[in-house]
């Protein structure tokens, strides 16, 4: 059987990234947007690990740890903001964020 080459990983990563981007652009629920951002970050993680493995160089994998911790911090802040929004508007629809569009 043919071994799985780097290009397959990169292609999967690109597809996942595009799914994430489309999710952010098309969905209106703040939590779903947050999930889509996480998909984008994890798509990049896949790329970084695959490239790092293929090159035999570790800095890509080290960056992945940074990305994971950043993603955790962002999730914490994002969900806190979504809760604060829900308390005021009883909705997490980003289309309700239109105070400044007057």
């Amino acid at each position: 059987m043919e071994p799985i080459t780097l290009n397959w990983y990169l292609a999967l990563s690109a597809v996942l990234f595009i799914i994430g981007v489309l999710g952010v652009l098309l969905r209106r629920n703040a939590i779903v947007i947050l999930m889509s951002v996480e998909i984008m970050l994890n798509a990049v993680n896949l790329s970084l690990v695959a490239i790092s493995q293929a090159l035999g160089e570790t800095s890509g994998q080290i960056l992945v740890f940074f990305v994971m911790s950043v993603a955790a911090a962002e999730a914490a802040i994002g969900l806190a903001l979504v809760i604060a929004l829900f308390r005021r508007k009883t909705s997490v629809d980003v289309q309700t964020l239109s105070l400044f569009r007057r």
Binding site: V37, L48, L55, S59, F66, I77, F100
Partner: protein
Amino acid sequence: MDITFYFPPLADYVATFPMLVLAVAALLCVVVDIFYNDAKGVAILAGASLLVTLLFEAARLSLPPAKALYGMVYVGGTASLVNMTILFSGFLTVLIAQPYLKRLGRNYGEVYALLLVAVVGMMALGSAANLLTLFAGLETMSVCLYILTALVREKDGAIESALKYFLLGAFSTGFLLYGIALIYGATGTMDLSDFADRLASTNAGVMFWGGTALLLVGFFFKVSAVPFHMWTPDVYQGAPTPISGFMATASKTSAFAAMVLVLGRALPSAQWQTTVAIVALLSMVIGNFVALAQSNVKRMLAYSSIAHAGYVLTGIASATPEGYAGALYYLLVYTVMNVGAFGVLAYLEHDNRQGDTQTVDSLAGTGQRYPLLGVVMAVCLFSLLGFPPLAGFFGKVYVFGPAVKSGLAWLAVAGVLTSAVSAAYYLRVLYVMWMKPSPDDAVAPQFEGVPPLAAVALAGCAAFLLLLTFTPWVMDAAVAFFRDVPAAIVSLP
């Protein structure tokens, strides 16, 4: 196994002293706040640590640039200048924000801890020698700023602007990170100074240029350049005013400095020059013209900051050492002007009648009633406009001049013309402040006067902008510094 390998040499601790001190001070702020619940003490601690590190960086300004912590950050020289700009902005923000937040009833100790951590992130971003440092610094900064934006969480506007900032910021981080991954895949290194060699030996392919494009998108978002500027007005309007000033200056300075490091040092200019020039043009035109139509002063300053991002990008687009030096000089001047302008607004917004809506009309007569604020605002706005004897004018000379030399005369002409347009909205604010009488003087203003330290900070902003004019040696020294340092950048280890 030799464990000493894991501990950097002492010289590295000295070189990165400001970052270490501020990180420790931030932790101390949290501890002091928990055990003593003394927001004033925390503010003093934060201000003192920022002042000490500011003086430390000033002392290192003349050192030749070097790398520290296993080649992860640049220290000394240009890096010191960028760090000084960031620290100066942070220091002034602490002075201005403390009384402001106290009046809002939001003078929490965490604010200062977050501010210090954000400053550490900004310094890492602005002096990054490795894409890893760049990402870590960028996110440290952004995460703190998301929280600071939502400080007054009972206000609809604050939550709305924080959520917008967060969602778009996280989205743009994804692009930036994907750019880093692709560049890493194409070159096999994250070290900025290795790119040139790797690119020479391997043919830069689609992967590399795709990565560069994504990285640029991430940067353009962070510096709010058109077409990635949509979040800026909403965020600056909704955030507490001194924090808006901090975001508009320090975070942009660090992102621009990182951009200079990545574009200027690591990538061949022929490939990105046109793109940056076009983005600069769009930012100047759209920023200045849309600012004309704003009735809210904070929103107007937000659009003006988009236009100023365009001016800085003009300097970067020239792709010469003089251009980069001019961009960094402009950022220093821009920081002082904008911290001053947002600081004045912070104290005027609780004046009377219109509360914190900050429409231009609500400023009527404030110049005569509070001459200090009026004069500081006048100096800052004239400088933002680029009026000849003030620092803002020299800033513009140093970004437009190199652009003309690099054959981007059309961009410089567009910059000068759009600056002329900006006179309309800057001078309108001054006209209303000084010439228009207050609508009803019978209404007693609830204004308590500017607290002494904040007054010193605001007067300091104005004095700094005048100082660069009336003491030519400061100017000469600055120019010489900027002429020298970029030449040294090129030959860095």
